[in-house]
Amino acid sequence: MSETKIIVNCATGEQTIVPLTTAELAQRDQDAAAAAEAQAEREAAAEALAALKASARAKLIAGTPLTEEEAAVLVI
């Protein structure tokens, strides 16, 4: 993976390819970690919602009482 940035001087049109600085590399690592964490949270939330819906549907079909949370995902 090339860790470079392309800088365009719009006044002159000159383009230079510059390696990322140590600070920029560290920021990239932080960004990657934060993105991975956010993605994991989104996936966990989606899985929890799907499980809640499945449980609500099953209880509805079986005629058993739904929890407040289960009712909320079925009724808008």
Binding site: M1, S2, E3, T4, K5, I6, I7, V8, N9, C10, A11, T12, G13, Q15, I17, L20, E24, R28, D29, D31, A32, A34, A35, A36
Partner: protein, 197 residues
């Protein structure tokens, strides 16, 4: 520069003149400032020393990620670590739609998603990003982004807006991927200036 020429009749009538084009100066329109085409992957594209000759700026992008991250980010004038940006999103993927937003909690403007390395090969996302009143020093800056991509069976379209809470004139635009990935080769970035007469 607009030229003004007095005719014989205008001198005689003391009030008539006509505005003529000098055939050199463009008063209004859209002008290409700079273009970057990646021949190999790169982490960031930076437009620096942007001339303040325009009313608005427009960035057009065709992009794909070289790895797993596919979130397009923009920041201005090296302001990329605070909480000076707000963002809003409307999106649809053909089967569902969603919206979200956040204010004052972001170090950059998120302007759209694009295909990652595991997406359908040779698919890229297209962007048109308007940066309004980019050089006005009496207002914060607003950004409007329309983007989308088709992955032969899936895809999405996004309409985003963002705010940079700074009244500084924009001199520098940094474009990068928000999860630390690189832009793939053949990604393309073009900056235009828009002049209003």
């Amino acid at each position: 520069m607009a030229l003004r020429r007095l005719s014989t009749s205008s001198i005689q009538t003391n009030g008539k003149s006509s505005k003529l084009w000098d055939q050199t100066t463009f008063q209004s329109g859209m002008f290409a400032i700079a273009t970057v085409s990646l021949t190999s992957s790169a982490s960031q594209v930076i437009f620096d020393n942007i001339p303040a000759d325009y009313t608005h700026l427009q960035v057009r992008i065709v992009a794909r990620s070289a790895s797993t991250g596919g979130s397009m980010r923009i920041d201005f004038n090296s302001d990329g670590t605070g909480t000076n940006y707000a963002r809003h999103l409307l999106m649809g993927d053909g089967s569902s739609s969603s919206s979200t937003g956040a204010s004052g909690d972001s170090a950059t403007a998120a302007v759209g998603d694009f295909p990652v390395s595991s997406s359908t090969s040779n698919t890229f996302s297209g962007y048109v990003i308007d940066i309004l009143d980019a050089f006005k020093t009496n207002k914060n800056k607003t950004i409007r982004s329309l983007s989308g991509h088709d992955l032969n069976g899936s895809g999405m379209i996004q309409l985003r807006s963002a705010l940079w809470m700074s009244q500084n004139a924009i001199t520098k635009i940094r474009i990068y991927e928000g999860a630390g990935s690189n832009f793939a080769a053949n990604s393309h970035f073009a900056l235009y200036g828009i002049k209003q007469g």
